[in-house]
Symmetry: C2
Subunit: 233 residues, 2 copies
């Protein structure tokens, strides 16, 4: 099994860089082959000016080759750092990651059926917030709502199975006496990453969505909001 680990943190001494190295070793120990895209170290250019480029093709090959994609980043302004957003802006091109219209079938390839179908995707996110404030009634919004544009609008959009985010809160307070717990939780998570149940987003299928790509009346009846777009479990 092959993994691509994409990370974005400017500080070599940061918790993120530590967990990046730790996580790659943990995957190795489980028998994964791991390719890395350390975006700051690569000096990745995040500004989309025109399509393509040799750097874009390299990243597309890494993605095509991966069974698991890890996106690891600190939560900045409740999203990913610009350097990672621009990795997606540039690399997830039409025809590669999705298609407005698949020439073979005449159908759009998106939301569960994109160019990256068959892959799992795990977000590993550090945040300064306390755990409660990124929970269901927390002021910052539930982490799965905060990451909706990534989990649903990017990973699921391109066909990947999005896993629940691995969230590390109060990241600024992690110290020598607490790092071991953080590492253990990450190692446990990575041990079962190939087997765990992904988030059950509904696919773009006429059973669930009507012609205007709204939920059919009988699906999640009366519900609005992001939670309406999931299989009831």
């Amino acid at each position: 099994m092959k993994a691509l680990w994409v990370s974005a943190h400017p500080d070599r001494g940061s918790l993120n860089c530590h967990l990046h190295q730790f996580g790659v070793r943990a995957l190795h120990a489980e028998g994964w082959q791991v390719t890395e895209s350390d975006l700051y170290a690569m000096d990745w250019d995040p500004v989309l000016r025109e399509e393509g480029g040799a750097d874009v093709e390299t990243e597309q090959r890494k993605l095509a080759d991966a069974d698991l994609v890890v996106l690891q980043f600190p939560l900045w302004w409740y999203g990913m750092p610009a350097i990672m957003k621009g990795w997606i802006d540039r690399v997830f091109e039409r025809g590669f990651a999705y298609d407005v219209m698949d020439p073979a079938t005449g159908r759009a390839r998106k939301y569960g059926d994109g160019g990256l179908v068959g892959r799992r995707a795990l977000t590993i996110v550090t945040a300064g917030d306390r755990p409660g404030s990124l929970g269901p009634r927390g002021i910052s919004g539930d982490i799965e709502d905060v990451l909706w544009p990534t989990l649903h609008g990017t990973l699921w959009y391109t066909g990947m199975s999005a896993l629940r985010p691995h969230l590390i809160t109060q990241a600024r307070d992690v110290n020598a006496s607490t790092i071991e717990g953080v590492e253990r939780e990450l190692a446990d998570r990575l041990r079962s990453v190939a087997d765990e149940e992904p988030i059950g987003f509904l696919p773009l299928d006429e059973e669930f969505y009507d012609h205007s790509i709204r939920l059919c009346e009988g699906v999640s009846p009366g519900l609005t909001g992001n939670a309406a777009h999931r299989f009831v479990t």
Copy 2:
């Protein structure tokens, strides 16, 4: 009244660039002084490596001087282009845009009480999606949920009054015969931008949020999701 218009589109011939020019003229016609940050034209560096910089200070002065902040962008992967995300990552520094702890009061300055309090913020967003798919039961999520990290986690976080997004759907299909309607709707929106009711996000106040920064039990009882963080209207 002073406005700062921040825009991000690489293509000089795009709908976004047209609407940028149109919108600035429309504000001028209403008596606004308008300062611009055309991020592609400025060749803005979106990659946060260390704090500060002359370019950051210039943008902070523009923000400090504005009564209205317009963020205009095409929706890429259900978020803003990396160049604009990195404008926020770099410019919205602690001490300027928010404070974890206000030395004067000992309280955090965030969520309704940041460094940018007193300003209004309007997002103007183009999307390829059909209108229904960014509505309450649309597959892509309601535009106010999609933009939650910006509207609530950035604009409201720093004290600004976030206005409902001005969304232009099916942007790829706008043509010579439909552009007039798009322009008219934008001009109408900008005409009343100083007076319209902002989104009623709840402020960080012990009346609404408990010590772990979760909603108090009696506030939006039983509700979860982004909608729970609003005044009931």
